[in-house]
Symmetry: D2
Subunit: 389 residues, 4 copies
């Protein structure tokens, strides 16, 4: 970015105890270019108020409802009101909150998945377009420097024509039915179709894997065959899903996500194979990226080195082997969004390379992915064409 | 085993320069209980003769054809003739060679896949049954001690009920079309449908992954959905294949094999997830086996330790961290087969635990796997029920 | 911490382009409890001014000299002036800057090593004691959660009596003589004895390894035998050093540091072996900590899990396998110092467990280490008793 | 090799239950060019006899004493008697057995360390020289293909001038005092100075690390400073030792070995750093060798690939990623010795490159290492010049 001031951020959701709200705040804060100044941190006004205290906010700018917040912030003088809002609520409210703030003239950073249904997403895209505002979606895993390096490799032709992609995202945290309360209610909202949408596992983490594939390879899915499963009885939604994938241009792939892969933590991995070489990246060891090809030894590129692409270098904050992690990757999404927002405020054009954050279009691709996997699975794991729209 | 002498082995195929023949000989030799004494090492009699010289064999026992070998060996006195034959020829001759030696009264060790077609395999099973002879198939990857440990874990209930299995076998050696000669002929027989059968990749290595899954989990495939691909133009057979799998009892899985995964070498891996825990084993790092479960740190069992199961201990030859490898695992198949052959010669019964080598039934399961994946793929990657026979 | 406001930080050093200044600011900022409000970022007033702009500071609080800064900040109303200063200058100025701010009534966070000589350090300790202010030294590697877990293991007796310690810190960045300018001047101040002190390598990174050993094991060095080398000609100071170490209580160890270990990046590792078990931690893979013992499989504890000690849990910000890195570890030093500073401001006592940041005493131990290694090495690598003072 | 027959091997020591005897036999057997035909497997004649049965030997060639064996084998016709003897007895008998067989006209393969004292070793060298026979010492770790690759890298100048070497060999098996029987006797002969010599740990495994350093780098020790320790009370010999090392030509190093490093198994590692690059090899993962240098990503060479040196290729038996291990490395020593023996029998000269197995001179260097470390340690860990002789 560059304004001669920090950007002012508001937040909806993410009060006390919310993991993802805390991550968004740390990510926003890391580079010292964004200040949190307002928020509606919970649908419970008291919790929102206490959260505001935690964050040392002016009580007058801690709101009971997001509608009030949008309205009152918009009414503040230009040099006080928030520049953008960060939406970290549950899936089923993304649309309404984003619509409200976009229409009130604010830029938006929104947690993934984009919204509750793809249909909602299509509407939201219209609203974003009309608004002329920045809309960034926090598919944070593409914020890692070595993921950016991977994309550069594909773009530069280092891998040749892509033939095969294997993206996997096994977690094991849901192997025990923690979400079932004694009275049968569902405490984990991701398992609740009224809140999460048509899918739990594919919506929550399958979309991350899908976004990662698209980001690195630039390839779009043409069709897929998905089998979603619910292994732990009593869950209304999937806790595991396996997909065979056909990409436009002829590449084939496997994409799977799971929350019952007992003992796995956050094991997002991708392997991409082309005619000239293959690459491999593991989220749990994010500072390395392996290049390999037949008849030559594997080469292990490491974050922070002079031999990396500009894209990787610009996304890094510490020297080689001073490990960066999840928060820093997340902060890269915020930094890119902040640059776009600052440019918008300053009336500057984007550089030729554009901004490197996930957009409303990426969010829509994610919604298409979720709904297509569910459709395929419900049909008995048959091949379904990807929506072309 | 225990006879008061070494077993006498003959070999069909595996002459000078043949990789797999050399591996079979090293595996047979390692424990000092088997002597190679006769062979027909090539369909080219001169090459067979020279190979016999390489192995210091009596020229009288180096044969021009396998039929001659079977006949003349059978005519030798009982204390001279071979006890068993090792068949390391191409897929399309396994049946005929095995039939010939079984009917001549010899035990058989045979390379995988079992034969050219499943139909041939069914016939061969009849012949084996009638013969009363030992028939062992060298699915060597199940010879690794830590694979045996993995099976023990599943059997003992350490993983609970199995929910999900991911077996992958990417290689990259066929990324370049090495098999195409200048005149268009196919030099790599695995790519030739008249020699290899209906599949290259699934037949050559997919079956290993399939065998590994069955060995460790004891689960049989109920149905699968497979997409086989031929990425490198000009190949009559598949060089890559992805399968979604449904196992009897409800587990789901992914099984894939590839020879165009650029830069991968022999990257056979398996992950098994159950209600109580998960396991992970990597062929390229075969001396370790990981146990993991939610809410406890991963535990890395290592070959050669006192804490392992008897099955793993009995399959090992060196102390911990004196690494064992491919040949030692292969030798475990030979050792188990030799024990069965020695018992047969001595008129002993097998121990209760039986013998730990792949049988004709395992070979038939492999043929079913190959043919089912091809059938599914040809139908457009539709679900196909596994043959129940 | 807990005040009802953020702490106000000033910074001395760390202007535009300075790596470690940037790290300190990110670390201070991460938790949203510290605001940078003033600074003297360079001995060059113009550079200081521009750096202040970068950080969006009030120009009135960007100073030309640190003396001016101390004086003017002290003169500000209590609700405006800084609470503490962060000193990120070169070694030879730590003492003077720290003295100035302590005596002006400010708390201090200071980069390592403590100062230019141990003698200076002893004086500084007196000043700290008299001042009653918080003094924290940023030996940041002990900020990692899994290092805290390691300490808990030793404290709880999980390793038994410690017998052997191996601490290694090889880097390779100084394999080329980057510090030598065309005119023979030294551009890398760490190689300049007038700025860095009596040692480059042991002072810069050897002290980190030493601090890590002390933090985890609680053991003090009784004597050591060190050989420091200067492999790249023209350097006035060491670029490599190897030590044999005897610890109080009988443990033995190896401690080495190097900047000419070609190809190593920031490869700080520690292994501690006791009668009941051993542990192993690698800075480049900081989210894991291995426990191992004879006759049991290695166990790999991973950051963010419920099975860890409170000390490790409290030092973490993201769930398991959402990797944390260098900045987060650094931020733990800031968070602990901030808690102490807030307690001091609020007139609260420390909790029984005390504060978990390196102190003036740790800094003095580091100075003793540096000077003892140099003394030993100059004597021809003879054993030298550690100063008892 | 190439004779038109297998070589005939005798063995002294290595009867039933002896680990290292079994390894020697597997190693000798692996390539099918050596037959075990005679032996004196134990000082207990009955145990020797039963061991001979285990190995299917002619009872007439299983001897009660090694003197009898040497005499009777020498008296056999040339086409029956052994070509060489493999000595796998305890350290204190190597000299006498080797002398007896060399003087009886046999080639010798001998386990390490060379003998009981360096003085004995010097005498043995005279005997070897006079005999004109092949004498090979089984420092097996230099048999690994990737260790040979490492040597080629150093020889070819790929690392530039060597500056620093770190060789470490921690084991943990002796953390419990298994060798102490109820009556106080020592059951582990390696801890008995009357059998093992002046050192346990440095003699048993320190010499392996030392041999590995010399093999890869070609550098000889000029002086060392060693501290040997006995951590477990009641042991007459060392169970741990740390050395600082100065190499001829200016390189510096650390070499340590330990048997009380709780939880380590057989963790022999070496890192070599030169002006142009560094290398890293780990015995527990022997199929990989890492090359690294500042400003370029690490490259991981893997056994079995076409890009390796001839030396590495010739030392391998299976394709890439079909892992080779300890036995195969050991077999490379036997194969090289067998070639030398066959050449000697056939009256052929060695090829220009010579034979790639450890010699009597390597054994003497090992004895010098053992005795120098003990001398240094007894003097209080002072620097001692290495014997130049």
């Amino acid at each position: 970015m560059k304004l001669n001031r920090k950007l002012r951020m508001g937040m909806v959701g993410g009060g006390r105890g919310a993991f993802i709200g805390s991550v968004h705040r740390m990510a926003a804060r890391l580079d010292g270019e964004i200040d949190l100044v307002a928020g509606c941190f919970s649908s419970d006004p008291e919790k929102s108020r206490l959260s505001g205290q935690d964050f040392f906010l002016d009580p007058a700018r801690v709101y009971a409802t997001y509608e009030e917040m949008a309205q009152k912030e918009a009414a503040l003088p230009a040099d006080q009101r928030i520049d953008f809002v960060s939406i970290v609520t549950r899936n089923n409210t993304h649309f309404a909150v984003a619509k409200t703030f976009l229409e009130a003239g604010f830029h938006v950073v929104c947690d993934k998945p984009l919204c509750f249904t793809r249909k909602e997403g299509l509407k939201l895209r219209e609203i974003v377009r009309k608004s002329g505002k920045v809309f960034a979606l926090t598919h944070n895993y593409t914020g890692y420097p070595m993921v950016k390096e991977a994309r550069e490799w594909v773009r530069s032709g280092k891998l040749g024509k892509i033939l095969k992609i294997v993206a996997e995202y096994p977690q094991g945290y849901a192997i025990t039915a923690l979400e079932q309360k004694a009275d049968g209610a569902i405490s984990n909202w991701r398992m609740d179709p009224n809140v999460a949408g048509v899918s739990n596992c594919m919506g929550d983490i399958g979309t991350h894997a899908h976004n990662l594939v698209r980001y690195i390879t630039g390839l779009e899915i043409e069709g897929l065959c998905a089998e979603l499963s619910t292994f732990i009885p009593g869950r209304p939604l999937d806790d595991d899903g396996n997909c065979l994938v056909r990409f436009a241009g002829g590449a084939k792939g496997i994409l799977y996500a799971s929350q019952i892969s007992n003992g796995d933590e956050n094991n997002l991995n991708i392997r991409v194979y082309g005619t000239k070489g293959g690459l491999e990246w593991h989220q749990e060891n994010p500072n390395e990226l392996v290049f390999k090809r037949a008849d030559a030894p594997p080469v292990v590129s490491r974050r922070g080195n002079s031999y990396l692409s500009d894209a990787a270098k610009e996304a890094t904050r510490t020297p080689f082997a001073h490990p960066e992690g999840f928060i820093e990757a997340f902060a890269n999404i915020y930094r890119a969004a902040a640059t776009a927002i600052a440019d918008s405020i300053a009336g500057r054009k984007a550089s030729k390379a554009g901004y490197d954050f996930p957009t409303i279009d990426d969010g829509l691709a994610g919604m298409a992915f979720i709904e297509t996997t569910v459709k395929s699975s419900k049909a008995g794991a048959k091949w379904v064409r990807f929506p072309q729209e």
